[in-house]
C-alpha cells in the first residue's frame, strides 16, 4: 500500500488490517477508514464510470458531496466510498452508470 512512512509533524495510527475485494481482486485496508482511502492506497484510481459517456471517475471531494466516488458495496450501489468505513470482507465493485439494486436487477431478469 502507498502509505506515508515518515512525516515531520504527524504520526499515523491505523486500525486493524482487514481483507476486502475490489472487482474480485483481494485487497487489504484498515478497518474503519473510508473505502475510497483503502482503494487509493491499493492503487485504484477509477471508482465509477458515467452513465452516458462512460467517463472514468475517481476520488474528488472526500466529504460525501460530489458523487464521484460512488461504488457498489455488498451489492448496494451509490455508496459514497469516501465517507463509508471499510469493514472486513466487504465486496466492493466499480459502479457503471446509475447502479441497480441487486434485488431489482433480479426482478428485471425474472
Amino acid at each position: 500500500m502507498k502509505l506515508i512512512k515518515q512525516h515531520p509533524i504527524l504520526q499515523f495510527s491505523h486500525g486493524r488490517r482487514v481483507k476486502f475485494t475490489f472487482d474480485g481482486r483481494e485487497m487489504e485496508g484498515f478497518e474503519g477508514e473510508p473505502i475510497a482511502a483503502a482503494l487509493h492506497a491499493n492503487g485504484v484510481r477509477i471508482l465509477s464510470y458515467t452513465e452516458k459517456h462512460k467517463r472514468p471517475r475517481g476520488f474528488f471531494c472526500a466529504i460525501g458531496k460530489c458523487s464521484s466516488c460512488f461504488v457498489i458495496v455488498n451489492g448496494i450501489p451509490n455508496i459514497r466510498s469516501c465517507i463509508t468505513p471499510l469493514k472486513e470482507g466487504m465486496i466492493v465493485e466499480t459502479q457503471h452508470g446509475r447502479g441497480v439494486f441487486r434485488q431489482e436487477a433480479q426482478e428485471d431478469e425474472d
Binding site: 506515508i4 471517475r57 475517481g58 472526500a62 466529504i63 468505513p85
Partner: protein, 551 residues
C-alpha cells in the same frame, strides 16, 4: 430524539457552538457526515495565525484534539452522531431527518438548530477536469494528513489562495513533489508568508496562469498550463507539466442546502463565495429557530468560524433563557471584538465587505464599527504590481527595510532577528513568545511586528513559534567571513549536526552549502531551528536549507 440544540456539522464552528451552549446547560446533539469530529481542522498540520489569546501558533490538528476532548468531557450533555447526514428539514414537525452509515434513518426534534455545515470545493472548467487524479484540495489533505496515504507522485496545484499554498507545503512535508502552482489572478490570494514558505523550497508560482487541459485517458498523466492576459484570454506558449495529480484549490462554496430548505432568506454574496443566509449579530438567520456559523455563513477561515460558533451557541442559550441578559451582552461584545481583530487585516477586506451585505442593518450600527477603528498598514499595497512580491518573494528593494541596524548587529553575540512579514495579517505569536521584549506588543494584531533591536538576544524563540515561518536570526560574530543563520525547519529528513546542507535563497535556488552546527526544537512542537554557518555576505539572501540526497 428530543434535544435543546441540534448542531449540524462537527467542525470548528459546530464544536464551538456545541461547547458554548453546553456550558450554559443546553442539551446538544451533533451530527456530522464524516468519520470523526473536527471537520477540516483534523487535516491542518500548520500553525494557526490569529491571537495568542485564542489558538495562534497552535497547529490545526492540536486545536481539533482539544475541542474533541472538551466535547467528550460533556458526555451525557452532548451526544455525537458520526457518519450521519442531516438530509432534510421538516418545518411543520420541527424535525430534522438524519441518515447514518448510508442506511439507518432517524429524526431529531430540536428546540433550536445551528447549521455549521462548512463548505464544498469549487471546480473550474477544463478538458479532463473529471479524470481520476483531479482532486479537490480537501481530498488531498484527507488522504495524506488523516489517513497517511500518498496522494500521488507529483502534483500541479491550481490556485494560490491560502488552501493552495498550505496544501502545497503539506505535500512537500509528506514527501510529494509539487511541480508548480498556477494562479489565475495577478497575485497570490493567500497570506504572503505561506507563499514565501514554499517559494524558498523551490516551488514556482505562475501568476496569471491556469490549467488548460488534463492529459491522460483513464487518469491524470500530465497537464497543460498557459498564461492568461488581462482580458482573461490565453496568451503565450503552452507549457506541459509532468504530474499525476491536479489539485484544485480554486475556492469553496458555502454548504447551504438545509438553509435554503428551511426557508432562510438567502443572498448571493461574491465576497463570501456564494449564497449565504442573512443573519443578525448573533448569527441567527431569518428562520428564528436556525443559526448559522463558520463557512456555511460565508467562506472565511477556522479561527473566525470558532468565534461565530461561540456566538451562535451563546445566542441559542439566551433564546432558551439559559443565559442572563448581562452575561449575554458582555460575551457577545467580547466575541465581536475578537472577530473584528481577526477581520482587521488587509486580506480580510473582502470578508468585511461581504458581511456588511448580509448582516441586518440594526446589528451593523452596534457591532460593525471596526472598519474605522482598525487601520493597519503594510507593504502589499505599495508592491501590488511587483511580480516577486506578488508571488511570495521579498523584492531586493525592500529587503533593506527588514535588515537589522548594522552598527548594533555586527558585534551582537547571538545575533539579531529578521522578520520577513510584510503583510497586515492577524497574528501575534512572535511577540508573545519573545522573552526579552524585543518584539514589541501589538496594539493591533494586524500590525506588522515592530522590533527593539537593542533588546534582541537572538534566542530564536520567535523563529520556532512564527506560524508563517517568517522569523530568522543572523549572528555576524561567528567569524571573519562567516555568520550563523538560524532558520525554521519542518521537513524530513532533519539536518544533523556536522552535516553540510544546501542553502537556498527566497526562490529555492541553491547559493552555497553550509555546515549545520546546532539543531534545536525550542517549543517541542516539531518546528526545528537549524543553525547553519554561511558566508556573511549571504545572510540576507539564504532563507532555507535542504538536506542533500547523499548525506
Amino acid at each position: 430524539m428530543k434535544t435543546d440544540l441540534l448542531v449540524i456539522g462537527g467542525g470548528p464552528a459546530g464544536l464551538c457552538a456545541a461547547l458554548e451552549a453546553a456550558s450554559f446547560g443546553c442539551k446538544v446533539v451533533i451530527v456530522d457526515e464524516s468519520l470523526s469530529l473536527g471537520g477540516q481542522l483534523i487535516k491542518q498540520t500548520h500553525k494557526f495565525f490569529g491571537s495568542s489569546v485564542e489558538y495562534a501558533g497552535t497547529r490545526g490538528i492540536e486545536i481539533a484534539k482539544f475541542l474533541i476532548e472538551e466535547v467528550s468531557k460533556k458526555d451525557g450533555q452532548i451526544a455525537v452522531f458520526l457518519n450521519t447526514t442531516a438530509i432534510g428539514y421538516y418545518a411543520e414537525e420541527k424535525k430534522i431527518a438524519c441518515m447514518t452509515n448510508e442506511e439507518k434513518f432517524f429524526s431529531v426534534e430540536p428546540e433550536k438548530i445551528v447549521v455549521a455545515t462548512g463548505a464544498l470545493e469549487k471546480l473550474i472548467p477544463f478538458p479532463g477536469n473529471d479524470l481520476p487524479g483531479v482532486y479537490g484540495a480537501g481530498a488531498v489533505q484527507t488522504l495524506m494528513n488523516v489517513y497517511g496515504i500518498v496522494p500521488g507522485e507529483r502534483v500541479l496545484m491550481v490556485g494560490a489562495g491560502n488552501i493552495g499554498l498550505i496544501v502545497s507545503y503539506q505535500l512537500l512535508q509528506a514527501g510529494v513533489q509539487v511541480a508548480a502552482i498556477v494562479e489565475f489572478a495577478p497575485k497570490i490570494g493567500g497570506y504572503w508568508v505561506h507563499a514565501a514558505k514554499i517559494r524558498r523550497l523551490g516551488v514556482p508560482i505562475y501568476l496569471r496562469h491556469t490549467v488548460k487541459r488534463a492529459l491522460g485517458t483513464n487518469h491524470v498523466e500530465g497537464a497543460v498550463i498557459q498564461a492568461i492576459n488581462e482580458k482573461g484570454e490565453w496568451c503565450g506558449e503552452e507549457k506541459q507539466i509532468d504530474c499525476d495529480v491536479i489539485c484544485l484549490a480554486v475556492g469553496l462554496s458555502p454548504s447551504c442546502e438545509l438553509l435554503w430548505q428551511a426557508g432562510c432568506e438567502m443572498k448571493y454574496v461574491p465576497e463570501l463565495s456564494g449564497y449565504v443566509p442573512k443573519r443578525d449579530e448573533t448569527m441567527r438567520t431569518t428562520n428564528p429557530n436556525i443559526w448559522v456559523a463558520g463557512d456555511a455563513s460565508g467562506i472565511e477561515e477556522a479561527s473566525s468560524a470558532m468565534i461565530e460558533g461561540k456566538i451562535a451557541g451563546l445566542s441559542v442559550s439566551h433564546s432558551l433563557a439559559k443565559v442572563d441578559d448581562t452575561t449575554f451582552t458582555q460575551r457577545l461584545a467580547s466575541y465581536w471584538k475578537e472577530l473584528a481583530l481577526l477581520r482587521g487585516g488587509e486580506t480580510a477586506k473582502r470578508v468585511r465587505a461581504g458581511i456588511e451585505k448580509v448582516l441586518s442593518k440594526s446589528s451593523q450600527n452596534q457591532f460593525f464599527e471596526f472598519e474605522n477603528n482598525i487601520k493597519a498598514s503594510d507593504y502589499s499595497s505599495q508592491n501590488s504590481t511587483d511580480p516577486d512580491f506578488s508571488s511570495g518573494v521579498l523584492p531586493e528593494h525592500i529587503v533593506e527595510s527588514f535588515t537589522p541596524p548594522h552598527e548594533l548587529w555586527k558585534h551582537k553575540k547571538g545575533g539579531l532577528v529578521i522578520i520577513e512579514c510584510p503583510q497586515s495579517i492577524p497574528c501575534d505569536p512572535c511577540h508573545t513568545n519573545c522573552p526579552t521584549g524585543a518584539i514589541l506588543p501589538f496594539s493591533n494584531i494586524n500590525d506588522m511586528p515592530k522590533i527593539d533591536y537593542s533588546k534582541c538576544s537572538g534566542c530564536a524563540l520567535c523563529v520556532a513559534s512564527c506560524p508563517g515561518l517568517a522569523c530568522f536570526v543572523a549572528d555576524l560574530t561567528h567569524g571573519e567571513q562567516t555568520a550563523i543563520l538560524k532558520i525554521p525547519y519542518e521537513m524530513l529528513p532533519r539536518p544533523q549536526v556536522g552535516q553540510e546542507v544546501l542553502c537556498l535563497d527566497r526562490r529555492g535556488e541553491p547559493l552555497t552549502t553550509g555546515k549545520v552546527i546546532r539543531v534545536q526544537e525550542p517549543k517541542k512542537d516539531k518546528t526545528a531551528v537549524v543553525h547553519v554557518v554561511v558566508p556573511k555576505s549571504l545572510v540576507m539572501k539564504i532563507r532555507a536549507v535542504k538536506v542533500m540526497e547523499n548525506g
